[in-house]
């Protein structure tokens, strides 16, 4: 039984929430409590499977799963040289992202139980599970077209959830902007997949990488396809100057969804990394791509931090801060890619290039946790006061003591104050970026200080000051909300106090998986 679960974990992790999502409307007709229990159990099982899978992958390396094949490991049909069926390929990076997705979804679900009330809650949980399915599907798959399908699942469910409070009007606007932009990006992804298919008659990422990395079959069309994929995923990851949809969407989504959306954005970032590092790797002009990533990161940090300063809507402000955080990740990844390009495919990457990649990948997790916690607190404030305008809020620390403590933790982490997790990843990024370009590093540090100023602004205007008469009756947020915030806060403090443990055990396998293109190809095509 145990072996069976370990072997089939790559598909069970997707099938469980999917099955629960299909069952939700049926159970919802019978009993609301039963539905809540089922959704909770399904998400919990998914979380557990994610950790089982992670342990398996960290111990035994890359795991493949051939869907519908005669056996799980039979990636190529017997006696044939190209993969035909859809293959799930789970490496260190995939499980790293899967842990992020399942964890945030689990916490977000706990939060939603007390946040979402009234009509439509059944559909809410269906869509919520679909978001989880979309993220996990993107992260587990080894097939490009499959990636597109799950990208669309993620987009559609996110768009529907952003517009959940449709009566307010603004969520509708955010939602339609989000869905148009993301389906446009997804269509260009599909076009690029078509180009690759027409060129190589392959859809599997490992097999494609094998074809692309040989000089003879690398063509002009392949390059165009790369740019289309790159631009689309950068857009979906929310890098400036294509970030405009992101504050809209984050700002108007219901409480927990904002946090899960951060993880969803990181899933697109994962797709970007997969395309850059695994599918194309050194076939394209990697140093140029590295410089593009660095400049995108820099612009994102700058625009995100400065624009956040003038916002007066609380969640929109945090959304701009999220843009800046994405910038840090792109900056670090860009430096890593740039360094990787110097040594080509085979050589050993320089020390600081490796550290930059570690910092970037570690920061993906930290970004979700930090920004997620802030969104949860902001959601609780909105839940209690029904107000998100910073000019009207004030003095809530009198009634919401715990929430304000969680906000301080999140604020300190997101602006990189020691000893929290944000500092651990940011110092890796600063120091390694400094080796490549000192001025970039200094701008990044300054922007981090800027972020502290921004969040002091929120803290001052929401929690500080005298108790206002309009919020006199406000109480502390419900216990379940505080509990879910506490879960995130505890993880953040753990990551902050033991960064070496996290980097060695979770981040390093992910970074190694990113750089190990040959292993990824070999797992599909068999011992290259």
């Amino acid at each position: 039984m145990n072996d069976w679960i370990v072997t089939n974990a790559p598909i069970l992790i997707i099938a469980t929430p999917l099955f629960a999502a299909f069952l939700t409307p049926l159970v919802d007709r019978v009993s609301k409590r039963g539905r809540d229990a089922m959704v909770f159990v399904a998400t919990l099982i998914t979380l557990v499977i994610a950790f089982i899978l992670a342990k398996n992958v960290f111990d035994n390396g890359l795991v493949v799963y051939t869907l519908g094949g005669k056996s799980v490991g039979l990636t190529l049909p017997s006696g044939y040289h190209v993969p035909v069926r859809i293959i799930l390929e789970v490496d260190g990076m995939s499980v790293f992202m899967a842990m992020i997705s399942t964890l945030t979804s689990f916490v977000g679900l706990l939060y939603s139980f007390s946040y979402i009330k009234g009509e439509g809650s059944g559909k809410y949980y269906t869509l919520f599970l679909m978001m989880l399915v979309g993220m996990l599907g993107m992260e587990m798959t080894g097939d490009l077209f499959n990636l597109f399908v799950f990208l669309e699942i993620l987009s559609v469910s996110s768009a529907a959830l952003i517009a959940f409070y449709a009566r307010k009007g603004k969520p509708l606007e955010a939602s339609i902007k989000y869905i148009i932009i993301s389906s446009l990006a997804a269509l260009f992804v599909l076009f690029a997949i078509g180009l690759l298919y027409g060129e190589y008659n392959l859809l599997n990422m490992g097999a494609l990488a094998g074809e692309i990395s040989s000089e003879a079959t690398f063509t002009f069309t392949t390059q165009i396809a790369f740019i289309l994929l790159f631009a689309s995923f950068v857009l979906k990851a929310g890098a400036a100057p294509m970030h405009m949809w992101l504050p809209d969407a984050y700002g108007e989504a219901p409480g927990a969804i904002s946090m899960v959306l951060v993880a969803a954005t990181q899933a697109s970032l994962y797709a970007l990394l997969r395309v850059c590092f695994t599918v194309y790797s050194m076939a394209i002009d990697a140093s140029t791509i590295g410089i593009i990533l660095i400049s995108l990161g820099l612009v994102s940090i700058f625009i995100g931090a400065t624009m956040a300063l003038i916002q007066i809507n609380m969640k929109r402000l945090i959304g701009y801060a999220a843009v800046a955080e994405i910038g840090y990740i792109l900056l670090a990844i860009g430096v890593g890619f740039f360094e990787l390009a110097k040594v080509g495919g085979g050589g050993v990457i320089s020390e600081y290039g490796l550290k930059a990649l570690q910092g970037g990948v570690f920061h993906i997790f930290n970004d979700v946790l930090d920004i997620g916690l802030l969104f949860l607190v902001a959601g609780a404030v909105i839940y209690v006061t029904k107000e998100s305008n910073l000019n009207k809020l004030g003095g809530l620390a009198h009634s919401m003591k715990y929430s304000s403590i969680f906000f301080i933790i999140g604020m300190a982490a997101v602006s990189g104050l020691p000893p929290l997790n944000g500092f651990a990843s940011k110092i890796l990024i600063y120091e390694s970026v400094y080796k490549v370009s000192p001025i970039t590093s200094i701008i990044a540090i300054l922007a981090s200080i800027f972020m502290l100023a921004i969040f002091v602004k929120i803290f001052h205007s929401v929690f500080m000051g005298p108790k206002l008469s309009e919020f006199a009756t406000c109480k502390e947020a419900p216990k379940l909300m505080l509990g879910s915030m506490a879960v995130i806060a505890v993880i953040m403090i753990f990551f902050g106090l033991f960064p070496d443990f996290v980097v060695n055990n979770i981040v390093n396998p992910a970074v190694n998986a990113l750089m190990n293109q040959a292993g990824y190809i070999g797992s599909v095509l068999g011992g290259v």
């Binding site: 446009l184 990006a185 390059q223 002009d285 400065t306 000019n391 110092i427």
Partner: protein, 113 residues
């Protein structure tokens, strides 16, 4: 117990120890201060003899918090507000524009090589 970075290492435990030491020192210094503190008149602000307005009115609202900063950078912020139009067509234009820039930067050198 230490995270290796490019230039050295980062250890939260050492940091915490240093923090506690610094906290203790500052606590001792604080403890050496004036013990007697008269409550009452001393706490009220002196506003040239005017009445002190109620606290609700003194609370600085979010919009005014970094007024000096944003006013100095007004040119930059006006430009930023101008490009953040909120029109969906412009979002599409940014996407296609950036994709075109990527095309030009990455592919044109290859074409003319």
């Amino acid at each position: 117990m230490a995270l290796e970075t490019t230039g050295g290492y980062w250890s939260p435990v050492i940091w915490l120890a240093a923090f506690i030491v610094a906290f203790l020192i500052s606590y001792i210094i604080w403890g050496m201060g004036e013990k007697k503190h008269a409550k009452g008149e001393q706490e009220k602000p002196f506003l040239s003899g005017m009445e002190e307005p109620p606290k609700e009115e003194v609370h600085i609202r979010a919009e005014n918090m970094y007024w000096g900063f944003t006013d100095t950078l007004r040119g930059y912020y006006d430009f930023m507000k101008k490009i953040h139009t909120g029109i969906i067509n412009d979002y599409v234009l940014w996407f296609l524009g950036m994709a075109t820039i990527f095309f030009i930067v990455v592919i044109l050198p290859e074409v003319f090589k």
